[in-house]
Symmetry: C2
Subunit: 137 residues, 2 copies
């Protein structure tokens, strides 16, 4: 079992590689709002534990294990965000809650959340009905 | 902002007081599966920080602040549990995920989860439709 901190790193690195094609220490540090020194420190630890390989010029490359975790967290992040976004919650609240909840979602729970997200995105009447109930005090 | 550990304690104490009328160190230790020594240690800290009052004979009594937090976490726990339970997930998975997610749920997110829980509990057709989709690979 890996800690939320490790999951956040692998999620961040996964997103950077997906977006830019590479993950630099400076980008990771900026996105996680931490110092480059602590990023370098953690990367060495993740390298030692087999989640990634730190190559001098190519920067950070995820191992299969690291990529699996990064993808999984990114998937949970996406489903939670889309589910809450359908109700028009403000982005900051959604981001705060999702970043916390994503570390505690097993396969079965993710399947349920995915079903709910798909239903709400594909069923405007249901969404309207729920939103009406929401605005009433 | 209080840590998940503090929230778990206040949730546990709140539940014990609601259930038995009192919260003893031995019960808290058992429910959280930790030693009585660490429970006593934490209780002194929570007392010092104004979440509860430790009275020699009556055991632990929550302050208004402590009760507010205990009730809030218990409420999130209930909503999350009922929402996932409607899909028949096994209790152990639900408990594990809920105990993690409950510390990261703001007011707006809780309102959305409550709406979804109420809809699923009151709309058997919708639930049947979603459960059918769930069983298909
Ligand atoms: Mn995330
Ligand atoms: Mn709980």
């Amino acid at each position: 079992v890996h800690s939320p901190a490790i999951e956040d790193y692998l999620e961040q690195i996964h997103n950077l590689i997906e977006g830019k094609g590479y993950a630099r220490v400076v980008d990771i540090a900026q996105n996680l709002s931490i110092s480059q020194a602590s990023v370098t420190n953690m990367i060495q630890k993740l390298d030692a534990e087999g989640y990634l390989v730190y190559e001098r010029y190519r920067g950070v490359v995820l191992t299969d294990e690291g990529r699996k975790i990064g993808q999984e967290i990114a998937r949970r992040h996406e489903v939670l965000t889309r589910l809450l976004a359908t109700f028009g919650l403000d982005a900051e609240t959604v981001h705060h809650d999702v970043e916390g909840m994503e570390h505690h979602i097993s396969r079965q729970t993710l399947d349920v959340l995915t079903l709910l997200m798909e239903e709400l995105e594909g069923n405007p009447e249901l969404l309207k009905k729920l939103k009406r109930k929401m605005s009433r005090p």
